[in-house]
C-alpha cells in the first residue's frame, strides 16, 4: 500500500539533510510503528508524506497504491486515501468543527467522483462516530481545536480519521500530551478502524501507546534512516534498554 524507497529529504531553507534514504513498505491490514530518538526524522517523514511545504525531496519515491504521492498536492493525497494525525493539531478560530468535518468529507468525496453526503446523513454519521470518542455536541460546535485540551485535540484528530475513512493512516506522536484515560480512548478509536484494507504507520517515542495499538512491525529510525526492523519485541527492547544499544549495534 504505502511504499517508500530510498527517500532523501532536505530542508528548503537551509542545506540540511533530514532523511537519508528511508525504505519502508506498509501492507494493507498491518500496523507499523516507527520509534526513534529525537531528531531522527520521524516527524519529517510524516510531513513529507502529507505534503507540507518547506521540504525538498532530493532522491527516492513514495507511492500509495502505486501512485506517486510526491507529485500530488496535499488535498490530492488526502483524496487518494492518506491521512496524517498531527502531533500538534492546528487551532482554526472562526471555523466550526462541524463545518470543517463536513467540508473535508464532501471535498474528498467530490474529488473521488462520489456523491456528497446529505446534511442529515452526515449529521447521523458524525454523531455516531463522535459518541464513541466521547466527543460531545459542544466540541462539535466549537471552532476547530480552539480551547480544546491536549486530549480533546487528539480525540478530534481520530474523529476526523473516522469520518474520512482513509486507506493509509499516519499517526504522529498521537500519544504526546495524553493521560492514561485519553490514551485508551484514542487507542480504542484507532483500533476500531483497523481492518484488512487499511494500513497504519504509528510514530511514537514510547512503548506505552503500542500496548494499546498492537503493531505488526516495529522500525527504529535514527539519523534519517531506518536502522532496524523487527516485531513487537523490538519496542519492548527499546523500553527496557533505550536506543543506545541498538545504535551501537548498528554502528
Amino acid at each position: 500500500m504505502l511504499e517508500i524507497k530510498n527517500l532523501h529529504v532536505q530542508l528548503e531553507e537551509e542545506d540540511k539533510q533530514i532523511l537519508k534514504g528511508v525504505d519502508l513498505t506498509v501492507e494493507p491490514g498491518t500496523v507499523h510503528a516507527i520509534m526513534g530518538p529525537n531528531g531522527s526524522g520521524k516527524s519529517t517523514l510524516s510531513y513529507v508524506l502529507a505534503g507540507r511545504d518547506g521540504y525538498e525531496v532530493t532522491e527516492g519515491t513514495a507511492t500509495l497504491d502505486g501512485e506517486s504521492l510526491l507529485d500530488m498536492e496535499p488535498e490530492e493525497r488526502a483524496a487518494a486515501g492518506l491521512f496524517l494525525a498531527f502531533q500538534y493539531p492546528v487551532e482554526i478560530p472562526g471555523v466550526g468543527n462541524m463545518t470543517f468535518l463536513r467540508t473535508a468529507v464532501n471535498a474528498q468525496r467530490k474529488a473521488r467522483g462520489e456523491e456528497e453526503l446529505s446534511a442529515a446523513d452526515f449529521l447521523k454519521l458524525v454523531r455516531e462516530r463522535a459518541k464513541a470518542l466521547k466527543i460531545d455536541a459542544d466540541m462539535l460546535k466549537r471552532p476547530v481545536n480552539v480551547g480544546f485540551s491536549g486530549g480533546e485535540k487528539k480525540r478530534n484528530e481520530i474523529l476526523q480519521m473516522a469520518m474520512l475513512e482513509p486507506k493509509m493512516c499516519i499517526l504522529d506522536e498521537t500519544d504526546s500530551g495524553l493521560d492514561v484515560d485519553a490514551m485508551k480512548l484514542v487507542s480504542d478509536g484507532v483500533n476500531a478502524l483497523r481492518d484488512a484494507g487499511r494500513g497504519f504507520l504509528v510514530i511514537t517515542h514510547y512503548q506505552r501507546l503500542l500496548d494499546h495499538i498492537k503493531p505488526d512491525v516495529v522500525h527504529i529510525m535514527a539519523k534519517g534512516r531506518i536502522i532496524k526492523t523487527g516485531g513487537p519485541e523490538l519496542a519492548l527492547e527499546v523500553e527496557t534498554n533505550g536506543y543506545a544499544d541498538i545504535l551501537n549495534e548498528v554502528a
Partner: protein
C-alpha cells in the same frame, strides 16, 4: 500655503456651482448654517490629517464619475426578513416601490414634510449632531450633506415596532449623484432595528443623525451595494443617553471608493456602543472606516471591530479614535482593526488613536495585518479541502468575527451566507 488654499477655495466654488440650496420652511436655518460651516472649513484636501490615506478628489469634484449599474439576478440582502421596506432610487424616495410608511410605535416622514407638519423633534435634531461632530475633526462632506440634502427620512420611535425598517437604495442612473439625510429619534426604552442595503447611486453622500434617549436602543445593519464603480461617503452621528445601546454593523463588498464615518458621543451614563464592519475588496477598491468615539459620561462601553480582506491591489484604511474626557470615569473602550492581505499588492493603513483624560478607565486597541495562516491552510488541505476552498473558509472565518458583532443571529447568518457565496464565486 497660499497655493493649496486657493485650490481648496476653487474646488469649493466649483462644487457649490452645481448645487442648489433647498429653500423655504423650517430647515432654512440649519441648512444655511451648514453651508456657512462648509464655506469656512472648505472641502477636504489631501493635506488634511484625516484625508491622508483616502483621496477626496472623486468625492468632491463637481460631477460624479459615471458608475455602471451592476446587473445580477441575486435576491437582494434582507429580502427574507419581515420588514417595512422603504425604497430610494438614485437618492429619491420611491413611494410606488415602498411599503406604506406606517408602523406601530414609529412615525416616519420625509424630511421635506417636517416643516409643514410641524414635527418639533425633527426640527431640533436636523444638523445638530452633525454640527457637534465637526469638532475636533472637520467633516466638510457631512456639512455639505446637511445643507443640500433634499430627501431623507425623519424616523421617530416612541415604542418598539414589530419589525425592522429596511431602507433599500437602488442605483439606476450611471451618473446619479445622490445626497440623503435621515434623522432618527429613539424615545426612552424603545428599540429599533434599521437595515440599509444597496449601492444607492454612482456617487452617494449620506448622513444619518441618531439621537437615542435614555434606555433606548438602535440596531443598525447595513450592506453597501456591490456595484464596482460606485463611490460613497457616509456619516453616522449618534448621541447616546443613559443606559442606551447603539450597535452598528456594515458589510462592504466592492465599490471603487467608500468612506464610512461613525461619530459616537456618550452623553448619558451606563450606555453601550458597538460599531463594526467587514469588507471584502478585490482590485480597484478603496475602503475607509473613520471612527470617532467621545466618552463624556460615566461607565460607558465602546467597542470597535473592523475586518478587511484585500486582494489584487485593494486598499483598506482604518482611522479610529477613542476620546475619554475627564469626567468619563469607568470607561471601557476597545478597538481592533485587522486586515487579511491575500497578496503582496494590497495594503492596509491603520491609525488607531486613544486620548484619555480620566484616570479610572480600561481602554485597549490593536491592529494587525497578515496573510492567510499557512499552518491552518495546510491543516485544511491535509484533510482534502482544495487550496481555494480552504482559503475561502479561512477568509470567511476572519470576517465572521466582525459579522458576529450583529446581535440578531438571523441577520448575521444571512450576511455570512452571502459572503460565502460571493467568495466561492470569485475564486
Amino acid at each position: 500655503m497660499a497655493v493649496p488654499e486657493r485650490k481648496a477655495q476653487e474646488a469649493l466654488e466649483a462644487r457649490l456651482a452645481g448645487l442648489v440650496l433647498p429653500e423655504g420652511g423650517c430647515l432654512d436655518k440649519p441648512r444655511k448654517e451648514a453651508l456657512a460651516r462648509l464655506t469656512e472649513m472648505g472641502l477636504p484636501q489631501r493635506r488634511d490629517e484625516y484625508w491622508r490615506f483616502t483621496r477626496p478628489d472623486t468625492l468632491i469634484q463637481p460631477e460624479p464619475l459615471p458608475a455602471r449599474v451592476f446587473d445580477n439576478d441575486e435576491v437582494p440582502v434582507f429580502s427574507s426578513i419581515d420588514r417595512l421596506k422603504i425604497v430610494f432610487v438614485d437618492g429619491v424616495f420611491d413611494p410606488e416601490a415602498s411599503d406604506d410608511l406606517e408602523l406601530e410605535g414609529v412615525r416616519i416622514d420625509r424630511i421635506a414634510d417636517i416643516c409643514d407638519k410641524d414635527i418639533h423633534w425633527a426640527k431640533d435634531l436636523y444638523g445638530v449632531l452633525e454640527e457637534r461632530g465637526q469638532h475636533p475633526v472637520a467633516r466638510p462632506l457631512a456639512a455639505l450633506n446637511t445643507a443640500f440634502a433634499r430627501d431623507g427620512l425623519a424616523i421617530h420611535v416612541t415604542r418598539t415596532p414589530s419589525k425592522p425598517i429596511s431602507l433599500v437604495y437602488v442605483h439606476a442612473s450611471e451618473t446619479s449623484d445622490a445626497i440623503l439625510h435621515h434623522i432618527i429619534r429613539v424615545e426612552p426604552e424603545a428599540e429599533l432595528t434599521l437595515l440599509e442595503n444597496g449601492p444607492a447611486a454612482a456617487r452617494f453622500n449620506k448622513c444619518i443623525e441618531v439621537d437615542i434617549a435614555d434606555g433606548g436602543k438602535l440596531h443598525h445593519v447595513r450592506a453597501q451595494g456591490r456595484d464596482h464603480e460606485r463611490r460613497a461617503v457616509t456619516h453616522m452621528f449618534s448621541r447616546l443617553g443613559a443606559r442606551s445601546v447603539y450597535k452598528s454593523f456594515t458589510l462592504t463588498v466592492n465599490g471603487v471608493m467608500t468612506r464610512n464615518e461613525q461619530i459616537v458621543e456618550f452623553t448619558g451614563d451606563d450606555a453601550l456602543a458597538h460599531v463594526a464592519g467587514a469588507c471584502l475588496g478585490d482590485g480597484d477598491f478603496h475602503h475607509d472606516d473613520t471612527v470617532f468615539v467621545t466618552h463624556d459620561a460615566l461607565n460607558c462601553e465602546s467597542r470597535q471591530v473592523f475586518k478587511k480582506v484585500l486582494k489584487n491591489g485593494a486598499v483598506g484604511v482604518f482611522q479610529g479614535k477613542i476620546l475619554v474626557n475627564q469626567k468619563a470615569q469607568k470607561t471601557d473602550g476597545y478597538q481592533i482593526s485587522q486586515s487579511l492581505l491575500l497578496d503582496g499588492d494590497s495594503q492596509f493603513l491603520a491609525k488607531p488613536e486613544l486620548e484619555i483624560y480620566a484616570d479610572d478607565v480600561a481602554c485597549s486597541h490593536g491592529s494587525t495585518s497578515g496573510a492567510i495562516d499557512e499552518e491552518s491552510l495546510f491543516y485544511l488541505r491535509s484533510r482534502g479541502v482544495p487550496e481555494k476552498d480552504a482559503t475561502n473558509l479561512l477568509t470567511l472565518a476572519f470576517l465572521a468575527e466582525a459579522v458576529d458583532e450583529i446581535e440578531d443571529p438571523k441577520l448575521a447568518e444571512d450576511l455570512l451566507e452571502r459572503l460565502e457565496a460571493w467568495l466561492a464565486r470569485r475564486s
